[in-house]
Symmetry: C2
Subunit: 344 residues, 2 copies
DNA sequence: CTGAAAGCGCTAACAA
DNA sequence: TTGTTAGCGCTTTCAG
């Protein structure tokens, strides 16, 4: 692209480099570099002329060259468990934490890389990311954070943080999780406060760590309120909703997710039980559809956006030399009709 | 890190470079480079010795250096509309296309960058991405693809593809969209085939392009079946579900989303109308909760995973010199109870 | 405060 | 088939 003056037109096609700025201002490239990075002394005079030239030529420093010279990638990588397939990826809550991560990463001047990764190939993927210098730090889901992976990360002094409480604990492993135990506690207390007396925890897989923690908080609350443990029931089969409701043993349910809660709602309707007057329901996760349920569902809201932001904060700190850190994000009760008795 | 032999231990902390391989094998770095890139002639003998050394030292080429030398980023960037906030980002379908994109991008040996971007700042964001050479191509949502942005992209010869049919059409603009018109057609035809005769399109904002296209396909189908246009109704207020149902004018509904469909289901229950015997319902989007609805919802399934993969394919082709391209992804009917009459 | 020169790790003409 | 050399665009000692 040649312009009227016979010179190559610099711009998008032919990039303008630091040399162009130097030439235009009549200084060396190192001076321009100093002015740009800002962490060296420059006369006010030349600094002004340089930034003016930068403006005029619409100069943007080549990030690749800069990163090569600096020996860093200025990039954070979020690993995704691709083996779960529609599990992790189509999960609205996961998506929200991506949003939180992206925002925080951007604010720190880093870029966000996303890499899908199958269970058996974490090690290879990590090699590609770390050894090829594509990233300075890694955010990893708990499902991928098995012992060998953590050992590799820790042994290699790779800054990383797990997006949830990992199975294997270590002070060398950073993680950020939702305070599931607190959530279980809040949900149970809320039902008790509203006059429901015989509570059950419903839904979820007993083997999942976060379910265990939710149940733990739930039980702790009952205990603190002097409730008999026999009045508690943990179920992992959603089909059992009708059974458990018709048994008449319970009048309040803390559900592990919206699906479980929906089953309870349907079962109640089938048994002609009224929600919330006969039975109260609180569920984990504020699904978009929860307010449209009949009745609208009370929820323990999980702030995955904050989780993502916090994970990023910890990770960037670690990249800058800080020690690993662990953190729990508080949950919040969103009260709707499903847990608010109108009569009696 | 000094090992027993008094030498610096190369590995994760001290990277092993192409020089180390060259030294170990006793060849020049260019020979090693040639062996690695594979697009030059090398004697079988040295190639073997090199790949052996690569293996032994666990060498991984520095991607930054490689990209600088090649003048490319080997990165594709997905722009996210951050102004929609919980809109785009907590959208399960968006998430699925990210998955599709990531998989395809990885297969092509590219990395995926994700950047949130506010409506007013697209141009600045693009400058950062393009002029700083952070990415070779861009995938952009239709909400961000206004005229000025498209002009900038096209004028700058930046490979890009829009994740949906943009308002402003141009053969220079690549896009991949769901075939919404076809979806509307399939949904309507399905209801007609199942004996529903007076159809309405329900839900969605009349101003959204994809809603218009769905409605267009819907209407086209009615016309092809000799149906009177007066029997068609387009509504954008979900609260009107009870009104429209109690009017008795319609016995079949094509809903724009699961929320609209859920409103119809609730209204029918309130009016003591039976779904599917009195009223048939088909909705766009196969939400995870659709099969659990009462009755389970028939859906027009939107393959956003395929959409993401196709967008990537087109983008990478363009990076490699191909022309812009447009593409429509077929929809699929998932038949469930909500549109299947049991009696007469 | 500024410039010259070397270097980040890799690739690619050009010669041999 | 291979080595030499220069260079990608930027940063950073080291002198001045």
């Amino acid at each position: 692209m040649i312009n009227a003056s016979g010179c190559i037109k610099k711009g998008i096609d032919v990039p303008v480099t630091i040399k162009d700025i130097a030439k235009k201002v009549g200084v060396s490239t190192s001076t321009v570099s100093r002015a740009l990075t800002g962490r060296a002394t420059i006369s006010e005079e030349t600094r002004k002329r340089i930034s003016q030239a930068v403006e005029e030529l619409n100069y943007h420093p080549n990030a690749i060259a800069r990163n090569l010279a600096n020996g860093i990638a200025r990039t954070v990588c979020l690993l995704i468990d691709a083996s779960e397939d529609s599990g992790a990826f189509s999960n609205a809550f996961f998506t929200n934490s991506v949003f939180g991560i992206e925002k925080a990463v951007q604010k720190c001047g880093y870029d966000l890389l996303i890499t899908g990764c199958f269970d058996g190939k974490v090690s290879k993927t990590l090699d590609k990311l770390i050894l090829e210098r594509k990233t300075d730090g890694i955010i990893i889901p708990p499902s991928l954070a098995c012992k060998s992976v953590l050992d590799k990360l820790i042994g290699g002094h790779i800054p990383f943080v797990v997006l949830g409480e990992p199975q294997k604990q270590s002070s060398l492993c950073s993680w950020v999780d939702i305070n599931n135990s607190q959530g279980g506690m809040i949900a149970a207390q809320h039902l008790l406060d509203n006059g429901y007396e015989r509570l059950a925890f419903f839904g979820g897989k007993e083997t999942d760590g976060f379910v265990q923690r939710r149940l733990g908080g739930f039980l702790e609350c009952l205990e603190a309120n002097g409730k008999n443990m026999e009045e508690v029931s943990f179920l992992n089969d959603a089909c059992a909703a009708v059974d458990i409701l018709s048994s008449g043993k319970f009048d309040g349910f803390v559900c592990n997710d919206n699906f479980a809660a929906f089953e309870i709602l349907k079962a109640a309707k089938a048994l002609n039980l009224d929600v919330p007057n006969d039975v109260g329901v609180v569920t984990f996760d504020n699904y978009p559809i929860a307010p449209y349920m009949d009745p609208p569902l009370s929820c323990i809201d999980i702030d995955t956006l904050a989780q993502g932001a916090e994970a990023t904060r910890i990770l960037i700190n670690q990249i800058n030399g800080s020690h690993p850190q662990q953190s729990l994000i508080s949950t919040e009760l969103i009260e709707r009709a499903s847990s608010r008795r109108v009569k009696g």
